[in-house]
């Protein structure tokens, strides 16, 4: 009976693609990269690697960081492997710097940054850190 068991990577590429396209691409990458050459090749397809939303939460209002365990694997193993495929990145405040400094993104052309602190945004776009001093003490 054991001989009739079909494992995931026994399936033809086309069938695997049809199945995996139904899943969240972050989950596909997290689950398959590093298992074997065939699954690596499939997970690295542009369908899964072109647009990465490295945040949790589907609606803009509830954006939060990915769990540490997921983020650690993306930064150490997944992003360095697929970085040249990535064209669009969704990032949030607390993990943005780590993800951007992990590797280079030569084909990135679209960037969406969520839940930024104003101070962080100023420092991002001026390459400087702003320190505010206001004479309106009531503001603080």
């Amino acid at each position: 009976m054991n001989q009739s068991i079909v494992q995931l990577d026994d399936l033809p590429d086309e069938i695997l693609m049809i199945i995996l396209k139904k899943l969240w691409n972050i989950r596909v990458l997290y689950s398959l990269i590093g298992i074997n050459k065939k699954l690596d090749r499939i997970a690295c397809d542009p369908v899964f690697t072109k647009y990465l939303s490295l945040v949790n939460g589907s609606s803009d209002d509830s954006v939060c960081p990915l769990p540490d365990i997921v983020l650690n694997r993306f930064c150490s193993q997944i992003l360095p492997k697929i970085h040249h495929h990535i064209q669009q990145l969704d990032l949030e405040s607390s993990t943005m710097e780590r993800i951007l400094s992990t590797t280079s993104y030569p084909n990135l052309h679209s960037l969406r940054l969520f839940k930024l602190y104003a101070k962080t945004a100023v420092s991002l776009f001026t390459s400087k850190t702003a320190v505010y001093f206001s004479t309106f003490e009531s503001c603080f």
Binding site: H109, L111, T126, F133
Partner: protein, 136 residues
Amino acid sequence: MINIFFLDHQSALSHIDPNQIDSLTIDINQYEDKCRYSDVNLLIFTHILTIFSKLKYLNFGLFFDSFQRLSFGNSPPATIFSSTLLELHVSLIDFTDCLYLLDGRFSQLHTLRVKTVHDHSTHTILNNKVNYNYFQ
């Protein structure tokens, strides 16, 4: 009166060539000093247009209830312009601010999506030099 001092540091975006970015969405939802949010927003908006010189799509202000609104006062800085921007989404304080955006400073703009907080205008300037195909 607000004074802004800068300390040099390495920006997270220094890992990316700004010229490769043609689409940018920025959601700022936490302001340390809510009294001066308008000044801070203007500073960020101006720098984005300066740094990302190939930008075609800019979404600056997604949420109606956020403080990420722009106001240009009596006149916007001359540095607010782009010859590449095709689509702009912004949240503005006043309808007059919207007219400033349509005075020709965005020569290629074909889609402007605006949320305004107040619909009254105390004064108007309209020197529209561009044919806009689509106004949302």
